[in-house]
């Protein structure tokens, strides 16, 4: 059995305590908490020193992790539990350690098992830090 079939059949998609991005029990994870605001899904996160690449600057991979997650949650909040197949990320401005970031995403289209979703990260001033567009494949629907 493929792992996706196993996850679809056995996993409560709202209970992933070891997820690196959102798992409440993952000691090294980001522990992101998402909430819905209309069609948008949002979260806030303040990166620490452990999330840097260049000194004082948040690692591009952590930015990607936040975007991948908020994009996935935008689909999940519509009952479309999915896995990312492709993501395009544009970095607009360095994110600095210790400065809070606001994440948001929304689903832009659904076609069969394919979902397109867009996400962005802004800093405290509302300035765009990074944006992403992703294509996801649905593994389970509510």
């Amino acid at each position: 059995m493929s792992i996706w079939k196993e996850i679809a059949e056995q996993q409560d998609p709202n209970d992933v305590p070891m997820c690196f991005a959102c798992g409440r029990d993952n000691e090294i994870g980001l522990k992101l908490e998402f909430h819905q605001d209309g069609e948008s899904v949002e979260a806030e996160f303040t990166p620490g020193e452990q999330h840097q690449g260049w000194p004082g600057v948040v690692h591009g991979g952590i930015i990607c992790t936040m975007l991948d997650e908020v994009i996935g949650y935008a689909a999940g909040f519509q009952g479309l539990y999915a896995v990312t197949a492709r993501m395009d990320v544009q970095y607009k401005k360095p994110a600095m350690v210790g400065k809070s970031l606001r994440l948001s995403a929304r689903v832009s289209s659904v076609s069969g098992r394919d979902v397109k979703s867009e996400g962005e990260i802004r800093d405290e001033d509302g300035t765009l830090v990074a944006a992403a567009q992703a294509e996801l494949r649905i593994i389970k629907t509510k």
Binding site: S2, I3, W4, I7, Q11, V16, M18, C19, F20, A21, N26, E27, I28, G29, E49, Q50, H51, Q52, G53, W54, P55, G56, V57, H59, G60, G61, I62, C64, T65, M66, D68, E69, G72, V83, T84, A85, R86, M87, D88, V89, Q90, Y91, K92, K93, P94, M96, I139
Partner: protein, 143 residues
């Protein structure tokens, strides 16, 4: 990325800076990647554990992205180009399971003026492609 607000990159002693999330050997949360040069290519390897997962048993896309971003940055550093990523495209080709050993590699494909383009991939030991990345990086400083 016109307004770089980080530190002067060439002043960083890359042997003693150990807090990078991807490659810092003293970052308790980090991946501790050891990136090695092999001609024009850079290579690393990583065996993800449970706390690197997204869906149970499957490596988080963000961890794959982190590895790809890191090896592409090092491919540029080895050419004396200290960069930040401005655009990255990642395609996940096969499901990355936790606990398997993954090989990652990257190389610079083009370099003109202040921009560098690089390609990268993550494979299994048997050569199966797991993820492919392409990045455009902005040169903050160069040797």
């Amino acid at each position: 990325m016109k307004e770089w607000q980080g530190p002067p990159l060439r002043d960083i002693d890359l042997n003693s800076y150990t807090m990078c999330f991807a490659c810092g050997r003293d970052n308790p949360f980090g991946l501790k990647l050891e990136v090695k040069r092999d001609g024009d290519t850079v290579r690393t390897e990583f065996t993800p554990e449970e706390h690197h997962q997204g869906w149970p048993g499957v490596v988080h896309g963000g961890i794959l992205n982190t590895i790809l971003d890191e090896v592409m940055a090092w491919a540029a550093i080895h050419q004396g180009l200290f960069c930040v990523t401005v655009r990255m495209e990642v395609r996940i080709k096969n499901t990355p399971l936790v606990g398997q050993r993954y090989l990652a590699s990257a190389r610079v494909t083009t370099h003109r003026k202040r921009l560098v383009e690089a390609e990268s991939e993550i494979t299994l030991e048997d050569g199966t492609t797991i993820a492919e990345g392409k990045a455009t990086m902005y040169i903050v400083e160069q040797d």
